[in-house]
């Protein structure tokens, strides 16, 4: 196994030069941040490019100057004139303060202020201002447990799917997020930025994408031993496909009431990448859990899940849960 993996690594080594070119045109690029496929991620990318352009101009010139000084004033080469007493110049000092002040002022206005409101998770103006008339926004309630995601679709028979998010294209999707375990981050690199998912608090985020495809979703903040496995695929599909998919899920016989959720929320590392679906979720589960966590409800980790991972993994291997 190890050998095989090593071979594949070597194969990749050969394409380093290609990767360095940052080929942004590739359809399934691995440069997720440089290939935004969602409205929010695209806005963030644009702000980043403005910022990088401004800063690179200053930093680049400074770096070139330093290198040039290093070349010109090297001792013994006599390329430049030495002036051991030159330590002050009013003009230069004004410039030294002025350049960064102007740059920071511009960036504050152009990206910090504008950007904060444009991708404000509670009211992202880039989405809400130009909300498409076709199709109502879709609401998704996100509940993070240790270490799974549960996505509830209140408008679709209150159905739910775990560890997989399916959303229609060209349609704003509004998320309400909370956690029943510990804090983590909800993050789909190509579609929308991170937002904290906190127990006892309800955050929001929004997403709109016009690009069909499957994108990786990540639990971006450390939340315990299962963090690396707390992944979800985000599928952006056409509205017709979405409707069809929703019909299928709604007809699933699995339902999730509070008792079922109690089992679901027990610590579980999703090593087999399972995506169970639930045709119906008890109404008000999200709010109920939010309030219950505020009342001190916990699904604590058993000792062996932190202190003795050997035991934990043996237990997981037996796959005692569906």
């Amino acid at each position: 196994m190890l050998n095989k993996a090593k071979q594949s690594h070597l194969r990749y080594l050969a394409i380093i030069p290609l990767l360095l070119l940052l080929n942004g045109c590739a359809k399934h690029s691995i440069w997720w941040i440089f290939n935004p496929k969602g409205v929010g991620a695209k806005a963030s990318y644009d702000y980043m490019m403005i910022d990088v352009a401004v800063m690179l101009a200053i930093v680049g010139v400074t770096a070139i100057l330093i290198v040039w000084f290093m070349w010109k004033y090297q001792k013994g080469k006599n390329r430049g004139t030495y002036d051991g007493k030159w330590e002050h110049s009013r003009k230069l000092e004004v410039a030294f303060w002025g350049i960064p002040i102007v740059a920071v002022a511009f960036l504050s206005w152009a990206v910090a202020i504008h950007g904060s409101f444009a991708v404000n998770p509670y009211n992202p103006t880039i989405i809400t201002k130009h909300m498409k008339p076709k199709g109502d926004p879709i609401q998704v309630d996100v509940i993070a447990t240790d270490w799974q995601w549960l996505f509830i679709y209140p408008q679709f028979h209150n159905m739910a799917v775990a560890n997989e998010l399916v959303v229609p294209a060209h349609t704003p999707v509004f998320f309400k997020l909370t956690s029943t375990a510990v804090t983590t981050d909800f993050f789909v690199p190509q579609l929308l930025g991170m937002i904290d998912v906190m127990p006892g608090m309800r955050t929001k985020d929004a997403l709109e994408s016009n690009n069909l495809g499957t994108y990786q979703g990540i639990a971006a903040d450390y939340c315990g031993a299962g963090t690396s496995w707390m992944l979800f695929k985000t599928k952006v599909v056409s509205m017709a496909d979405f409707k069809q998919w929703a019909d299928g899920v709604e007809n699933s016989p699995n339902t999730m009431n509070y008792a079922a959720f109690n089992r679901f929320a027990e610590p579980y590392i999703n090593v087999k990448d399972k995506t169970p679906v639930y045709g119906h979720v008890e109404h008000g589960l999200f709010n109920h859990l939010l309030l219950e966590v505020m009342d001190g409800k916990k699904w604590p980790l058993p000792m062996f899940m932190t202190e003795n991972m050997f035991h934990c993994l043996k237990l997981q291997a037996s796959e005692h849960r569906a």
């Binding site: 993996a5 691995i30 997720w32 800063m55 330093i66 330590e87 804090t183």
Partner: protein, 716 residues
């Protein structure tokens, strides 16, 4: 009041049991054996050579700021190595674990790679904590300890005993985190910890307790140190050392210690409240019962961001000393530099929230903290420009120290560029918690490490009287830089690919190649560590050939280069009178560099004391007792600490007096040692020997003829 912990507890041993020693762990058990054997060998060697008395009398009980500084630096270097090993383990784990499938080493019990997620969590938590608080901080405090009193012409720090106490409490923290390797385990929640995962319900073991008390001890040690530095600079400056003549490094030490003094209480409170949650069952950071988990994050970064500047400002100070010395020019824009230093220190207090922009506190708060964060870029930019202008019209010598300083400059440029990206909430949402952030702050922290290596090479001859081997210093620089590039350039790339932090299993196979590159980088880093050790060995072996005079580099500028190398324990036989900002350069240019005092006065020196060592040991016991909930031990150690402190306060320290005659003898001896060592060297000595001649020629027309008056006399 006390919370019941899961698992067994006994009054005598608390939670401690033999099963807490991970002797079955295939990684830790052999390491434990190796360390125990090495320890035995070390103890045996010291005993065999009969050095215990020497170590105890000359080092452990010393209150001399230079020796304490050296011990701080040794402590920092050892922990830098430990932190590096942690980094190596993380890189190796990610390289082995990347991609789907089972390409790990099953034997170790991991699903992927060779570390279990829990063990991996401990490794990176320890890595972060060690690198920032137990490597960078002791290294910087050590260098400040040695240099600041010398630069202001003081005999010692304001409170020499407090200085020793700070060292030994820091050492206690180091012992605590080291023992967590072999007894129990360390926190797995990252070096800054997350609420509520560090609550007892989610971290039932002792790891978080180790983490709390280690941090509390470092915080205590550093606060004591910062009080000492500020009092030293405010109250102990030599005559003529006005504020406008204070060397830049001292200025940066002042600003850094203001930050430390003001910010460390926040850390102490934040961790004490975590402790209260875990020990007393309070609800500060719980999700339920009206607690607020983000309050922890807030209080932590309230300290955490100023702390970042606490470590970077002294590094800026070091760069500001090294670049002028090897550019043969005074620093450009002294006043602007000082203003910029304090501007950074001031702004550092209103930016902490950018560590959790994603919390969801709304655009108004985000905007304020975003703009405040960008403001840091202004003084930092000024500093970089001023360093560049210092090099302009200079005469640059690319000695090893200068290379490290310039390397730091370039890392600062990259770190600044990426920092400005991270300061924008819209961009931050995409890369927050990704390895892009990790790469960014490693650029900044490596800027510190570069400055520290530069400073160690720069000031080593001042402390030990001989230079480090230049060529090996440069080889190490290039190896280290290659390692930096190979490890952190891929990390930036991985950040743009969306890899988040702290993944024990990097799930995307496309990342594999970058992890391989990083692993190569780590291997190069290993070579640079070897080069460092070899540099030390070669330098000590050939020390006779690298002896230096007072002005070791021949182009040095600030006051510390006036006194002999190595610095005698009394620092200055007579306290110098300061005439200019760069006193050493001024005396050299005006022909006074050879002048020595012609008469002496009696001086009063503090006695050595073992009390600091005892209190350090007791604080370790307190930390250990609290971690394992051995209450009798904790209480006993606490009471003993208070009693020792009261005893020491009653006994006081009469100190001892060196009479004027003795002083004269000591001074002659010190001078003799120095010139003996230099006999075979060209005049001016050392690597930049030629410079002195050039300078002398340039300055010869200004050189006053005849004997300098007053109480000074020329030597030659």
């Amino acid at each position: 009041m006390l919370v019941n912990v899961p698992g067994p507890w006994s009054p005598l041993l608390g939670r401690l049991a033999l099963s807490e020693i991970p002797y079955t762990n295939p990684i830790l058990a052999p390491l434990f054996v190796v360390i125990v054997l090495a320890g035995i060998a070390l103890v045996a060697a010291i005993t065999y050579y009969g050095k215990w008395g020497y170590l105890w009398k000359e080092w452990f009980t010393t209150v001399d700021h230079k020796k304490l500084g050296v011990m701080y630096i040794i402590l920092g270097l050892v922990m830098l190595f430990r932190g590096f090993i942690d980094g190596l383990m993380m890189r190796t784990q990610q390289m082995l674990a990347v991609g789907p499938g089972d390409n790990g080493m099953k034997a170790m019990g991991a699903i992927h790679g060779y570390l279990t997620p829990f063990h991996f969590g401990q490794v990176y938590s320890a890595h972060g904590l060690i690198m920032i608080l137990l490597a960078a901080t002791p290294l910087l405090v050590g260098i400040m300890n040695i240099i600041v009193p010398l630069q202001i012409g003081a005999r010692d720090m304001a409170y020499p005993y407090l200085n020793a106490l700070g060292l030994w409490i820091t050492a206690a923290a180091v012992f605590l985190i080291m023992i967590s390797l072999f007894v129990g385990d360390f926190s797995h929640n990252g070096w800054f910890g997350y609420a509520p995962i560090f609550e007892l319900a989610y971290s039932p073991g002792v790891g978080v307790d180790y983490w709390i008390w280690t941090l509390e001890l470092v915080a205590l040690g550093t606060t004591l140190g910062s009080i000492n530095f500020l009092a030293t600079v405010v109250k102990m400056r030599a005559p003529g050392m006005t504020w406008s003549r204070l060397p830049i490094f001292t200025w940066s030490a002042v600003s850094a210690n203001i930050i430390a003094l003001t910010s460390f209480p926040c850390l102490q409170v934040a961790l004490a409240l975590v402790g209260a949650d875990r020990y007393l069952g309070t609800h500060f950071f719980t999700a339920g019962f009206g607690g607020n988990l983000m309050l922890y994050t807030n209080l932590f970064w309230l300290w955490g961001h100023p702390e970042v500047y606490f470590v970077i400002l002294p590094a800026f100070g070091m760069i500001s000393e090294i670049i002028p010395a090897f550019s043969e020019k005074p620093i450009f824009g002294y006043t602007a530099m000082v203003l910029a230093t304090f501007a950074i220190a001031g702004v550092s207090w209103i930016v902490w929230l950018h560590h959790f922009f994603t919390m969801g506190m709304g655009p108004y708060v985000s905007t304020e903290f975003s703009i405040a964060t960008m403001l840091v870029g202004i003084p930092t930019g000024v500093k970089v420009f001023n360093w560049a202008a210092t090099m302009y019209k200079g005469r640059l010598t690319f000695s090893a120290a200068m290379l490290w300083a310039i390397g730091a400059l370039f890392l600062l440029l990259i770190g600044g560029l990426t920092g400005m990206m991270l300061s924008i909430p819209a961009v931050n949402y995409m890369v927050h918690n990704s390895v892009f952030v990790v790469a960014h702050f490693h650029m900044m922290l490596l800027c510190i490490v570069y400055a520290v290596f530069g400073a160690v090479i720069f000031w080593f001859p001042k402390v030990f009287g001989f230079k480090l081997h230049e060529a090996w210093g440069k080889i190490m620089f290039w190896l280290f830089s290659a390692g930096t590039f190979l490890v952190f350039f891929p990390m930036f790339m991985l950040g743009f690919m969306g890899e988040t932090r702290r993944l024990d299993w990097p799930f995307d196979p496309h990342w594999a190649v970058w992890f391989d590159v990083q692993e190569i980088g780590i291997a190069v880093y290993v070579l640079s560590v070897l080069a460092f050790l070899w540099m030390i060995y070669v330098s000590i072996r050939d020390r006779a050939h690298h002896r230096v005079g007072a002005d070791a580099w021949g182009t040095s500028r600030s006051l510390e280069w006036l006194t002999d190398s190595p610095v005698p324990f009394y620092n200055y036989a007579m306290v110098p009178h300061i005439n200019a900002r760069d006193e050493a350069a001024w005396r050299r240019e005006h022909g006074f560099s050879e002048s020595r005092p012609d008469h002496f006065a009696a001086i009063h020196m503090p006695n050595n004391t073992g009390v600091a060592v005892y209190i350090g040991a007791l604080t370790f016991v307190i930390g250990f007792g609290l971690t394992w909930r051995i209450w009798w031990l904790t209480v006993a150690a606490l009471i003993l600490t208070v009693l020792i402190m009261i005893y020491r306060s009653g006994k006081g320290d009469p100190g001892y007096v060196i009479s004027a005659e003795e002083m004269e003898k000591l001074d002659r001896q010190s001078r003799q040692n120095m010139s003996d060592g230099q006999q075979h060297l060209p005049k001016g000595g050392g690597y930049t020997g030629g410079t002195v001649t050039a300078y002398s020629a340039a300055a010869s027309d200004q050189r006053p003829q005849g004997t300098p008056p007053g109480n000074s006399r020329p030597l030659s």
